[in-house]
Symmetry: C2
Subunit: 685 residues, 2 copies
């Protein structure tokens, strides 16, 4: 355990009574969840460095939004200076480098989500996009971004009137052969690019997606262009642009989301990102599909990397939320036998409200860690030109996985943050509890990088295609084996619930096999509805639209849960034997607690019998009771340091009321008379 | 319809296409939902007056929390000056006066929830408490509060370590016969009173609840005292008090929630509110139950009035949220057949996400309007000394009703606000959409005035008592007849689902009878579990605790929905025939959409058959499709004026992108270079 000495010990205090009953060492669990000791060490190094830097001190009162933007920009500069990404790391293999960048992102996000968004968009997404969409002539932008940090970029895709449906974007880039330039134009406000992070106040360049139009008037569809926005020396925007800040939002106000309208704005021909297609000096459009496998890999990365980052951040957010709520529950007493007050954590209702989310946090962390490794190894192979079997099928499967997991995780985390706030009662409503900010900052993840409901449809489309293959005895295209079980469709569909004791339910076998039945049934239910709608004369678009509620939408959610279960189970099987008992319990709780939400389908499809609901729910409550003695140490393993957690209710010393008192008393002006008293008590004349 | 001319007409525009398909006049529906034309007129008068007053102008950027407190206090003063509560109204009957006060509260809350909280606590709750808990000697406080508005009060009950369990409060008021004073003392920070609205910066007096201790050392339990806090002329707090502001919260930051510690602080003996008990000058405790019926009525009012106010405000919040989201859905197009884009409202998934909440808004409004009248008439009779049959039973039943309805409504509204935000996509995340503020300001209602989970238990306790009576053939104590159907327990319990067509489900009869079955089954399920726990040797406290999840908690929620259904149905039956078709559709949608969440119990208890889930869910989707042509006019009837709604996405003219453009362009400094640019672009030396 000496190797884990870089993790600070926890102060002894009121939480000891629950910590002492744990069956495992919390630091070891922490390492198991992180998956890599070097990455864990890096995280702690970043947290410690930033804790010691006054620029990263927490604000007792939320600063004005403009000030938040200033601080965020300064923090980004400072992080650049700290060079957490060493040259050695930068020059390591793609997979290793990316995991380091992801770890830095996660560590920074937990302190100020706006900084990590600013960094991810402004530096990493942009430079990756240059590599995958651009060619040699764009390397100067790449160097200026990732090495010199002179460029801070943004991504201009969404328009005011078009978000999810990118085909209908209306910003144009028309080639002018006379001056060898593209002329960018925004026809009206509806076509203004918007929600562009970093654009409102700070970026120097944007990666613009616009309809490419050649001199013959042909529209060649959306293409990427590097467009200068601001003079890096003065931060003045260039003439020909109307660039504005979108104003205050529900959260992440450190990010300057902007909108932009182009007025016949000219950029050099060379600023077209021309890996897949180019326009000659004369204005002829030429597409070049020279390296299809690399383009596929690049597409995969652009689509998925951002969403994987969101899921990693979501894991962090849910971990912080449950850590606060569980520590509060273990130290806050209320009611009891006569006047012997009892900690909230002893109440079955309170356990049930929280422990499901604790188990979700653990399962998600294991899943995403495992999935990220799988994902990176495929991208790495593809990038390096190593032949990957079924690469295009793997790309599709990964897209479906991400498109179901991002909704499943981000929604669950949003619910968790809310439940944790409520479980901390009124005190949870204080800013100093930090649950409000965790929630508000997490909230946009259900919308951005693909609205959850729209993404869900992409996942269900892929799933139904695999089902159709299985139905017609064709091979299922599942190189990652997430739906290879469809090969056994008939036998799975026939299975029914036959347990008579909760012990039989509290097993990975029961959970995984029930999920397989559920997926098969939902596929059938979705597919048959779709076919019926088509038969009744509806168009494909209409039929798809009539197949979402109760069907495709549920299917995607269930698939997301199934992925989290199967990938985390793989991980658990490889962990230390000391950790396995608690991990299996958490796994089973997450599985049964999630199945609880699909009981109707188990009944409707004829899988369940009259006893199923009661047995399943009894099992959930038994697991909650079983985990009571473990849960405080589990959240110790999930929680970041106290500085990062930043909650008066969730400090690891468990001194709830002393911490609350400190928070109250150190509030600026707490005991002052209102400075504006004269305004409300007019003097008598 | 001339009588409704005080309601401004709606501007013609993109929403016309959906408005023209409505089967009813939206102003008439608005009146039907409000229930009283004079109250509706008053609401519009208040909204118009405040719209014309620059002090009530909306803020494009959230002001700092301290400034929010200043503005809120100024707004309260201004509202006092407007005298919306005329002398005639003030001198009207109790019921009439109270409904006027409630209407003013609702109208003000919709503009700035902090002002209405400040007013409700600082003026009305305090003055009512003086009347019900105090005697003649406290009339001077009453006059100074409600007439002269010289006192601004607060309520000090909750302590840092004790919220829901009031018995264990530790602040003491010890009588000192020598100086004929009570000495108030706070033993430590855990016993500091907290969450006291108005205490942090502004109140002059507080109504303190403390353990009354006589010179012989006997503790007589919690009693109310009027305690001076600040000099009204200078707003300086008095020596002997540590009074602080609790700092920033998730929402309602215009309210100065405070905490207070008393250091041997002395108040006159007469400041004890002595209606039910007094301490003689010599220090002898004397209780006096002279007028039991009035005391009961008073108790009823103190317990329930605040919670009814919360439910009225909740109705307003959900109305605003769905109005914004539905108008957005009707004007925002996305995807479609080829390039013919389709408004979001045309998608079944989008209808399903929103229309259930629209139906909830309508059903809740009708329920609460009806219930408020019932409630006020009982209180009025009891106050005026008219004998009310079964008064104490009615008080218990009303407490159970409020204790289930406040959770059911406030949770549903919280979900609605969130779903509406998500349904507006990224644009819904903008402050100028107003969905974030609606949500954050609504959020504390699930915790304050009785935490929803704690209140739920009080409701289920009452329900189980009635069930026990029915089981043993005793009379059910239900003077308001909310559970009189328990007299027919055996026949209800035997009923099963026998529909074969969705038409049979879309009826009040099916919905109400299914709810009765559900309540009977949940009562049995809860009761039998409790008895089993007792038999196995658990204490009552333990048995109750083991009966909450899946049982008592669900029972309370179902009872709350049942109340909303039965009371709104009573109302609908009396409405104009022109309005009834749409009202019945909305009623059925709310009923079936809510039953959808209890399908597991319908299966588990043997009521449902394999087809039930599909039929019920098909019926929900049919109703959504059926309501598509009505829904825009329904939200017109629910929505306040555009000024009050304050949403760039939800304006009644439907000019979505023009309104959004105006919001963006009028943001202060929107196109300015960041004033702090020099901080992030250091000059080269």
């Amino acid at each position: 355990m000496e190797e884990l000495n870089f993790i600070p010990n926890l102060a002894s205090g009121p939480l000891d009574v629950y910590r002492n009953s744990a069956s495992f060492n919390w630091k070891q669990l922490k390492l198991a969840l992180e998956g890599d000791i070097e990455l864990l060490r890096l995280k702690y190094k970043i947290w410690k460095t930033l804790e010691e830097d006054p620029l990263f001190a927490h604000h007792v009162v939320t600063p004005p939004v403009e000030e938040l933007k200033r601080i965020t920009q300064l923090q980004l500069k400072k992080i650049n200076e700290y060079k957490f990404l060493t040259n050695a790391m930068f020059n390591a293999s793609y997979g290793k480098r990316t995991r380091v960048i992801m770890t830095i992102n996660e560590a920074v996000q937990s302190l100020n989500p706006s900084v990590s968004v600013k960094m991810a968009i402004g530096i990493y997404l942009f430079s990756n996009a240059l590599l995958s969409l651009g060619t040699e002539r764009h390397l100067k932008f790449y160097e200026a971004t990732i090495k010199d940090r002179k460029i801070l970029a943004s991504f201009s895709l969404t328009e005011i009137a078009h978000g999810s449906d990118v085909r209908l974007m209306r910003t144009t880039a028309t080639y002018d052969p006379r001056r060898k330039e593209f002329v960018i134009h925004t026809p009206d406000f509806e076509a203004a690019k918007c929600w562009v992070g970093n654009l409102g106040r700070t970026c120097t360049h944007t990666l613009l997606f616009a309809q490419l139009i050649t001199p013959d008037g042909t529209n060649h569809g959306l293409h990427g262009f590097v467009v200068p926005i601001r003079d890096p020396a003065t931060l003045e925007t260039y003439p020909g642009l109307i660039v504005g800040d979108m104003g205050e939002k529900i959260g992440v106000n450190g990010i300057d989301n902007g909108f932009i309208m182009f007025n016949q704005y000219r950029i050099p021909r060379e600023n077209l990102l021309n890996r897949t297609a180019d326009v000659t000096e004369e204005g002829v459009y030429e597409s070049s599909f020279s390296e299809p496998s690399r383009i596929l890999g690049a597409a995969l990365e652009n689509l998925s990397a951002g969403r994987i980052g969101i899921m990693q951040e979501s894991c962090h957010s849910i971990s912080s939320a449950v850590a606060i709520a569980v520590r509060y529950a273990a130290t806050r007493t209320q009611f009891g036998e006569r006047d012997n007050e009892v900690p909230l954590i002893e109440y079955e209702l309170h356990q049930w409200r929280l422990f499901g989310y604790v188990s979700a946090a653990v399962v998600f962390k294991l899943y995403i860690e495992n999935f990220t490794r799988t994902y990176l190894s495929i991208v790495e192979k593809s990038n390096s030109g190593i032949r990957v079997d079924n690469l295009s099928e793997a790309v599709s499967e990964i897209h479906a996985m991400v498109s179901s997991s991002k909704p499943t995780l981000s929604w669950c985390v949003l619910e968790a943050a809310q439940q944790c706030r409520e479980a901390c009662g009124g005190h949870g409503y204080l800013k100093c509890a930090n649950l409000g900010d965790i929630r508000s900052n997490h909230e946009p993840t259900v919308t951005y990088e693909g609205d959850n409901n729209v993404l869900s449809q992409q996942a269900s489309n892929w799933l139904v295609r695999q089902y159709e293959a299985a139905l017609s005895n064709r091979a299922v295209d599942s190189p990652l084996r997430t739906v290879h079980f469809l090969d056994h469709l008939p036998s799975i569909a026939k299975s029914t619930f036959s347990c008579t004791d909760t012990r039989q339910l509290k097993t990975p076998e029961f959970i995984i096999s029930t999920y397989k039945w559920l997926l098969c049934w939902l596929l059938k239910y979705t597919y048959e509805k779709h076919e019926a709608e088509i038969s009744s004369g509806r168009t494909k678009v209409q039929a798809k639209s009539k197949t979402q509620v109760y069907r495709a939408k549920t299917l995607t959610r269930v698939y997301g849960e199934y992925l989290a279960l199967t990938f985390s189970l793989q991980s658990i099987e490889k962990k230390d034997s000391e950790l396995q008992p608690v991990l299996y319990k958490l796994f089973c709780l997450y599985g049964l607690w999630s199945l609880d939400k699909h009981l109707v389908e188990l009944y409707q499809g004829g899988f369940a019998n009259k006893e199923t609901a009661k047995l399943l729910r009894d099992a959930v409550l038994e697991l909650c009771a079983d985990l009571k003695g473990e849960i405080v140490s589990v959240v110790d393993a999930l929680a970041p340091t106290d500085f990062v957690l930043n909650s008066a209710l969730g400090k690891s010393d468990g001194k709830l009321y002393q911490n609350l008192q400190k928070a109250f008393f150190s509030h600026p002006g707490v005991f002052e008379r209102a400075r504006w008293w004269r305004d409300v008590v007019p003097s008598k004349l």
